[in-house]
């Protein structure tokens, strides 16, 4: 199998200002990766190689750090990122049923992106809105006191707005 990083062609010049500022500052790897993810939406493999080269590290080392933290993604994200809370308060109030309903409706599991590229599902530990539990965030908006029906209605509305009523 050929290495997939060779097939990617991210515009590495976009990362140049970040590297100019941080590449030589010790202990800045996580900051560089965070800003790279801001730029590309995820961490493409060629970006990982590039960061390793510029920081005098190895791709294995950089990938080792990136995969340790839940914030980093290695696949492009859907247009809408669903952060479904499964913190203790949400869990006690039924977040599992909501996760199951969303998974079934979109045909994706945690960490995956729907076939139409519209939604990514990420189940997270706590959004800190415990009093509104169960809660999910879709991009910047927070939705509270969810039921499976209410969660699906929200997703359907977004699909209709996007005109991909699959």
């Amino acid at each position: 199998m050929e290495c997939s990083c060779k097939q990617q062609h991210s515009d590495l010049s976009k990362l140049e200002p970040v590297l100019a500022q941080y590449a030589a500052v010790k202990g800045s790897l996580i900051t560089i990766l965070q800003q790279a993810q801001e730029i590309y939406g995820y961490l493409p493999m060629d970006v990982i190689y590039h960061v390793a080269e510029r920081t005098g590290s190895t791709p294995a080392k950089v990938l080792g750090v990136a995969t340790f933290y839940t914030q980093f993604r290695f696949q492009p994200m859907g247009k809408y990122l669903i952060l479904l809370c499964d913190g203790t308060a949400c869990h006690v109030n039924g977040s599992e049923r909501i996760a199951a309903a969303i998974s079934e409706y979109l045909g994706i599991q945690n960490g995956e992106t729907s076939a139409d590229g519209l939604f990514s599902l990420s189940i997270v530990a706590c959004l800190g809105c415990c009093s509104l539990s169960p809660v999910m965030m879709i991009n910047e908006d927070t939705y509270g006191s969810l039921t499976p029906e209410k969660a699906l209605a929200i997703l359907k509305e977004i699909r209709e707005k996007e005109g991909t009523n699959a």
Partner: protein
Amino acid sequence: MSWRVAVGEGSCGIAAGAAKVYDALVPLLKDSGITLGVTGCIGMCWLEPIVDIYEEDTLKARLVQVQPEHTSAIAEACKSGDLSGVSDLCITDEDNAFLTQQTRIALRNCGIIDPNSLDSALQAGGYSAIRKILQEDGGMTPEAVIDCIKTSGLAGRGGAGFPTWFKWNAARQSAGEEKYLICNADEGDPGAFMDRAVIESDPHTLIEGMLIGAYAIGAKEAIVYVRAEYPLAIKRLSTAIEQARTAGFIGENILGTDFSCEFRIKAGAGAFVCGEETALIESLQGQRGMPRLKPPFPAAAGYWYKPSNINNVETYANVAWIINNGGEAFAALGTPDSKGTKVFALTGKIRRGGLVEIPMGMTLRQVIYDIGGGIRDGKAFKAVQMGGPSGGCIPASLLDTVIDYKKLGATGAIMGSGGMVVMDETTCMVSMAKFFLDFTAKESCGKCVHCRIGTKRMQEILGRIVDGKGKDGDIELLEELCGAIKDGALCGLGQTAPNPVLTAIRYFRDEFEAHIQEKHCPSGACAALLKYSIDVEKCKGCTLCAKKCPVGAISGTLKSAHSIDTEKCIKCGQCKANCKFGAVQVG
């Protein structure tokens, strides 16, 4: 007469619609002479969005669950000075009792001041403690500051409860010019949001507490490690740091003295283990957040192996108050073992959930029933989870346990960072134990074999128990694994990961046995163990359930009682959801 309207804009408030309320008020109060502002989180999360109306500095009315459609009535009331038009929105005495029973030190300004304004913080007494230390009457030496904290009895509020003065003193005594002061704001315990509320609502109090700590240990650089999941906290803290720098509280020669201290924020990237101080330091250095072997402790060799001190947000939030009021005033609150106050995030099946700050020594019952209003929906209390995935559950029989480090520790739970999740009779304790184990197994960094593999095996055993495939001896096997993990793990994550399972077995062993022996979940929560049946007395034979059943497990003829073939039943619940006569029973 000057009136002021303040909208509570913490993350919870915004999620409940506070920003929309604020936006609706802007045009209505334009040119009215009434000031419109924001505050942080008052901690009464179940009443959000909250709007406060002040005349000068007097709170005239606290309006709750405000929606944009209420804003014209609010504007009218403020303009006319007659608040009768909004009396329906005013907080009830019963709800207000949530707040009046608290003693607020760490949260003293939360929900009262404007978190975006340095003036607002200064008016509330902000930076008076650092002035007292650096300027007034010859000031205080670092040793005097450490002594004052020692007198107060302040202990680390992040969970471990280690005496703050001892850590400060050790860092001060360590040789070397280059020292660091770090704030742990990586609040990873699911169900806890005290630290987020403090940063979002009162960032200057955190900065001042850290300045005092930096002065005491001799650090010239202070770093706040904040969860990336808290964007609003990061934004407000960044603004506050810039304001403090402009005003001369941060930077070179603070307040014209020899004391200099720089501040910066480091956004975490999501790893529960980074709440452990040496893992946090590794992460600060751009590495995988894996704990170090201790000793050496961070006070001797921390960030870049220089002497460092780490405390959590709530600990620092108490410091300025202690300097201003004296260590004795803080020590006067609480119990002989635990001084001062503690903030809890009260959530779960509770009627009034939110942030509660109480003096140590109150009982769990007082917090859950008197302050929190008891259990929601008329259900019965079953247990309260203290300290999240590192803590344990405490059953109803121990509700009169006094809140202090030792007494809570004796129950098998811990004080923890302050997560207090209330569970009712419908919560299955076996399934909750599995939930916490799933969390710690996923968050184990993998360094220690006992933690990495032990939690995995425990997860598998708990998984088969809730699936109805538990075996004789599983409880004993779990207990054995718990002991091995506690002994064999290097850091707090592994050492405490067994706590939720051990306490669940200790107090709810009968539930484990019911799952294993009878394949029955007494709370009716574990889907795999549910048995659906039809009450022949109630069934009218309408055939609807049989039509809705996706697997054809229901048989019966029109107008005669139906029955369910439990072998075929997949427990989807469609029959129960569709029965108009309440004839489908689940047990």
